[in-house]
Subunit: 212 residues, 4 copies
Amino acid sequence: MSSNASQLERLTFFSDAVFAIAITLLIIEVHVPHLETRDDGAYLQALQALQPSFMGFALSFLVIGALWVAHHRVFGMLVDYSASVMWPNMLLLMTVAFMPFATALMSSNPMARVPELVYAGTLLAAGLLQWRVFAVALRPPFVRADLAPDHVAATRWRALGLPAAAALSLLAAWFAPGWNNLLLLTIPLFVRLFYALGLRRTQRLQPVLAES
Amino acid sequence: MSSNASQLERLTFFSDAVFAIAITLLIIEVHVPHLETRDDGAYLQALQALQPSFMGFALSFLVIGALWVAHHRVFGMLVDYSASVMWPNMLLLMTVAFMPFATALMSSNPMARVPELVYAGTLLAAGLLQWRVFAVALRPPFVRADLAPDHVAATRWRALGLPAAAALSLLAAWFAPGWNNLLLLTIPLFVRLFYALGLRRTQRLQPVLAES
Amino acid sequence: MSSNASQLERLTFFSDAVFAIAITLLIIEVHVPHLETRDDGAYLQALQALQPSFMGFALSFLVIGALWVAHHRVFGMLVDYSASVMWPNMLLLMTVAFMPFATALMSSNPMARVPELVYAGTLLAAGLLQWRVFAVALRPPFVRADLAPDHVAATRWRALGLPAAAALSLLAAWFAPGWNNLLLLTIPLFVRLFYALGLRRTQRLQPVLAES
Amino acid sequence: MSSNASQLERLTFFSDAVFAIAITLLIIEVHVPHLETRDDGAYLQALQALQPSFMGFALSFLVIGALWVAHHRVFGMLVDYSASVMWPNMLLLMTVAFMPFATALMSSNPMARVPELVYAGTLLAAGLLQWRVFAVALRPPFVRADLAPDHVAATRWRALGLPAAAALSLLAAWFAPGWNNLLLLTIPLFVRLFYALGLRRTQRLQPVLAES
């Protein structure tokens, strides 16, 4: 058990490192203006032109941050892991590592449809992979014994919040590229909604399960 | 308790990784001169031209280093954490991740007012967020039982040192852009001052608290 | 023993960090197109032109991921390490750190022979070094006592899978540059084949060893 | 004690992360050639032109690797740490983080004197700071009780090996820029020499100390 715990810790560690590197690399894609003047107006204009990059940086920082917080929460519920979590987790990390590119593509070409579709599509892929990782990870033998089963089940459901919001954003990107990102503000709502749905559904099923 | 400790460790770990990446990425923004000569004078001139970049690298390395040392000290005082520390900490990490940009903006445009304001403003934001994180983290149920309460309270106060120095630097950037960074040398003084103030204030209040 | 375990952990940790950084840096070499239009067709064309970069990113992510998964598996079988594992492991990390360059060289110059040879050669070097690291690491005093000796021996054999596939890919790069990468799809087959070979060979030898 | 151990672990961790990032960032400074041909000769020529960059990458990888191996060895001898190790260690990490710049400066301008001086000077600074960190860290109350005192003392001496070789290389850079790096091959010799010197000196002093 102890060696499984240490292997789980290392998997967690590697994932954390990729999250941390991707989130910090976001700033590299914001190009530093180099002006040959000391005129305040010129700098304000240059920073103004970078506004889409700043917004992309902040948005992606929060999104990768939220992915990490969820990963942190779920892996904290485990005492062991199935080998079948390894590759879905690796693919999740691949989408996370792709985020600096998707962010820079969107920020360098503001309000253009294809970049917005690529960005929302990356989020959708990350969300679906995260949902898959959590579904595989949160299975009975691997979960801490002291956790309520309905909380575990609802945590699996809650992972549908991000892909739901990302799917909406993807659709909206077609009609209102750029503005569609506002829909990502609904992520916290969707997450709570799916958690509540999962909780209710499990609690309705539990008596049935207990009887059988 | 043990699983909380491991979750705290992972939060600490993720934060450490972002600090470490941001501090190491600083050097990427220093552009390597490529000369087609072997003349010593040409190289000395090229390095001379990079002096603001070297100073920005060193300054930001020390500032991020100080932020990390403080984070390391405070999180070492904890045995558990409140979920409400998660997002202020994430925003603190966002300002840390933003530092390579702010540094390069300042270094590429030496003595210009707007870049200096952006740099000092980033430090001020980082300082205030750090103060907030520490205030949320250093609450009774989460702090190690063996620590003196007045030391804990004074550690909360001490976090006001960086934002105070950064606020001064921000003001001075308006009047003497570039030179204002010298005020950051006062950070160690302010930190000690606020620690002493916090200690004295807590010790004056303690008898009152003990009586009540 | 405990301090050896912590030294092993730190070696593992450092290796994990290099794997994680190299895998995440891959995306930096994919250059973000910056178009002055909102025309969908122009963006699709620009992304089309980046297809070799996307494929290189995905391929190298999976290869470095597989190297890490193997490293994770083998180091999880250890309780201690020999000092002689240190430098072969450092050289393995050097080839891993070189992967972003080899990937970008191949992706920026698709279907060219020399870049494909460099890429396959880097993989071959990484595979041989990994095999060497595992052969040194998986020796009796360092391996967990609860592991079956034939599984340990077969795990050493299994590390021949990657260099075998990389050698094939290197050969094929000469005749069909670009297409040779398809041979890397055989890595999972080779890995299983060598594991089975190693298992069979060890089991045939074991009675002899037990008698002696 | 346990919380000191965990604080020491986190300091070690942060240091490891900076070492790992700096060592992996080295490859970013090797610029990927992008040719519009499939002619083998053109690629071989382009790679030939990158030879100084490859050699700089390999040299700095080995040097940072050696710095990390030494750091790993010495911190593995500790059970606790003095607060006064914090800032010398941070300055050591600053020189490590500076290495990608120094390497690229040297590689982009091969055989030029000033870049070689900068590179050798960076190594000298790193070596002296490492020696300082180890001297502060390896003091009685912080060192594991089971270690022989003369081995601890000799480990402090051994840290003089890198700065000695770097000082020689710095001198030689003036007269034979480029070739001076060959002197870095003497690092392993110097390290062993200083270790032996330290061992002999401590063993000669020990009877005296034991009597007093």
